[in-house]
């Protein structure tokens, strides 16, 4: 029999927050739908069926390729041991927070018309290989770099969690590398594929900065990019609104499908299994896979650092606009990360305090619903809402950008904090009850010390998401209010490639520092509380 501490206050707070978040999403949807129905009949040249078809093809290809690459990489990483392996695994794990703009920029500087490869090829052979980083191939490449690494991290966790006795049985039976994959690995991996595929499809379907930078015009777009183009370039608000409604409908369908599929584990444990290395061809293949994936992932990021931290950076940091953008980015990132923490913690504590399945679902749903509202759509919704309420978008912009980024990070934050908090409530509920701990002491003595690292991970996720955000700021930014990604995008638009390179490098460094540093920092702080 499950014993949970009585925490009516936690449940009440969570209900109030969940209701607030739900009301907000209803208002956003209402603002979009009201504008959509109000604009019927107005002439708009946007071909939605064509866009849907193209985006689906792109997202489908991204999904298949990313799962295949991710599985091969996880397989290789699970088998190979080498110095620096933890670093490599950590690097691939950081794909989830690496800003799409930075990866796209890195791919351009390697594969682009004036990239490393072309320069080398012209110098050596006197011809150019064209620009494979542009168009559909470039989009797929950038997506697979990010999503393949993400898939690999999830799948590696599954492989590392295979019970040791199962490995011993297999090893002592002398399974061949192929039998080992089919009999031991695949049954563990199979469960992750539907959920991962749904997430990757959603990410690719709603991709914004990568498609904006590499798509090269209407031939390769997503609905997100089309919405942005409709609002900022064609001033076709009616068209944008119809696109947004379509986007929400498709995303909801994908999420409904995804939620019916197996969930994905979020905790990564170290394996204590005996060493069992594959031999022969399989081992060569594993080394090849690891090498290609590392080059494919690291080279673009490395080129960003090399190009950006070179000569051009002095010119960028001399601009007052750069310091304004940096300040805005840091303030927005910090504020939205803290807001996300507050929301996620309150919701997860409330969910952990109740054993009622329906209530738990109701508390979780509003937060997870924001998966169906990607950045540009949410931004458009807030834009319309702010106008309806009679504010000037420019005045509301900073607050809206912070709020929107928090809401976009909330599903990921809930997925990070929820499972450990609920496990604590379930496993220590009896003890907490019998000791008669107050809610506050339960938090400070039990939950917070056990949660330190997870809180750091969550803050890092939320901070990095909003640091790299282009989708929200793209609609709300002005000449006076811009963040680093927006400044970088504008620099690209006006052919100031050196400025863009410098900002890309700074964004990448900031992301890495936050992603590596915040979890450690909070683990330390929480350890001090033990």
């Amino acid at each position: 029999m499950l014993t949970l501490p009585h925490r009516p206050l936690r449940i009440a707070a969570a209900i109030a927050l969940a209701a607030g978040i739900a009301i907000l999403i209803v208002l956003v949807l209402w603002a979009i739908l009201a504008a959509a129905t109000g604009s019927e009949g107005s002439a708009s040249r946007i071909d939605i069926p064509h866009l849907l078809r193209m985006t689906s093809i792109q997202a489908g290809l991204t999904t298949v390729l990313s799962i295949a690459v991710g599985m091969a990489l996880a397989w290789a990483l699970n088998r190979l041991r080498f110095p620096g392996r933890d670093l490599v695994v950590g690097l691939f794990a950081s794909a989830i927070v690496t800003p799409g703009m930075v990866v796209a920029f890195g791919l351009l500087s390697i594969w682009g018309r004036n990239g490393w490869i072309n320069q080398a090829s012209e110098a050596l052979f006197g011809f150019s290989i064209g620009n494979p980083a542009f168009g559909l191939s470039g989009i797929l490449f950038a997506h697979v770099v990010l999503d393949g690494a993400f898939a690999a991290r999830i799948m590696l966790a599954r492989l590392d969690a295979i019970p040791t006795p199962r490995l011993k049985t297999g090893q002592s039976l002398g399974l061949t590398p192929w039998q080992r994959f089919a009999i031991i690995d695949w049954p563990s991996l199979r469960g992750t594929v539907p959920g991962l595929a749904a997430i990757i499809f959603l990410l690719a379907f709603t991709s914004f900065p990568i498609v904006l930078m590499l798509g090269g015009g209407p031939a390769n777009q997503t609905l997100e990019v089309a919405i942005y183009a409709a609002v900022r370039q064609d001033f076709d608000l009616a068209g944008a609104v119809r696109l947004a409604a379509t986007q929400i409908a498709v995303c909801s369908l994908v999420i409904l499908a995804a939620s019916a599929l197996a969930p994905i584990p979020t905790s990564f444990g170290a394996s204590t299994a005996p060493r069992w290395r594959d031999r022969g061809l399989a081992r060569l293949l594993q080394m090849l896979v690891l090498m290609l994936c590392t080059i494919g992932f690291v080279l673009p990021l490395l080129s960003v650092l090399i190009d950006g931290l070179g000569a051009g950076i002095g010119r960028v940091v001399a601009q007052p606009a750069f310091w304004w953008a940096t300040t805005s980015s840091l303030v927005i990132g910090t504020a939205s990360a803290l807001l996300t923490l507050l929301l996620a913690l309150a919701l997860a504590l409330g969910r952990g305090a109740t054993g009622n399945g329906l209530l738990r679902t109701l508390l979780g749903m509003p937060a997870f619903a924001y998966l169906a509202v990607p950045a540009v759509v949410l931004s458009l919704g807030f834009f319309l809402l702010v106008r309806q309420l009679g504010f000037a978008p420019a005045t509301a912009a900073p607050f809206v950008v912070i709020l929107a980024n928090s809401l976009l990070a909330l599903p990921f934050a809930m997925a990070t904090l929820g499972p450990p908090l609920e496990a604590i409530a379930r496993s220590r509920g009896k003890l907490i009850r019998s000791l008669g701990l107050s809610g506050w002491r339960q938090f400070t003595l039990v939950e917070y010390p056990l949660l330190g690292r997870d809180i750091g991970v969550m803050l890092a996720l939320a901070f990095c998401f909003s640091l790299g955000d282009l989708g929200v700021i793209a609609l709300f930014g002005t000449q006076d209010f811009q963040t680093l990604p927006l400044m970088m995008f504008r620099a690209l638009g006006s052919y100031r490639g050196n400025d863009a390179a410098a900002i890309a490098a700074i964004l990448l460094v900031g992301t890495i520092v936050a992603f590596v540093g915040l979890p450690r920092l909070f683990e330390r702080i929480a350890d001090a509380a033990r």
């Binding site: 019970p163 006795p165 011993k168 049985t169 090893q171 039976l173 061949t176 009999i183 031991i184």
Partner: protein, 217 residues
Amino acid sequence: MLRVENLTFAHPGQATPYAFSLVAHEGEVTAVSGASGSGKSTLLDLLAGFLTPSAGSIELDHSDLLPLPPEARPVSLLLQSESLFEHLSAAKNVALGLPAGTPRAEAQRQIGEALAEVGLEGIGNQLASTLSGGQKQRVALARTLLRARPVLLLDEPFSALDDETRVAVRELVRVLTIRHGWHTILVSHHADDVEALAARKYLLVEGRLESLRDTPS
């Protein structure tokens, strides 16, 4: 005869290393008992080749086993859990004991015979996940029959079974050991199992194996 001499090993951070010495004879069950955490599974991991000792020897009929990797050792393994791959049928699990490239008809015949010998005729097509705990261990024993390795290592194989089943599976282990001339090493902390099966008994204390003589009761 399986002879283990002064097999030395320490886990990371372990102050005094284990030093195992034991003898196991053909057609006999040799039992090793000891408190939880005393190192019984470590001993079997060393014998099966999952761990590499820092010193000592393992010899089977005077041939040195230490250089062999786990899959090449003349050893079959039966663990408390995970002895079968749950998503495969019983027959497919048993088939993993056959050498690669065994002709289909021949394989089917041998699998059928092995299943019959452990008392499980006709369950070949059932998924392993649908079998009871006792049936699973029997299927694993059928696989051991086809692998035909002279040493059988059992790590608490009856722990997850109810009393009635454990007596039956235990009896099967005893009969198969005699019939096939296995050197069976049973790790267990259940006195009953040891009493019922063992011709030779060891107690693991403080990293050493002490030979126990039967005191007539």
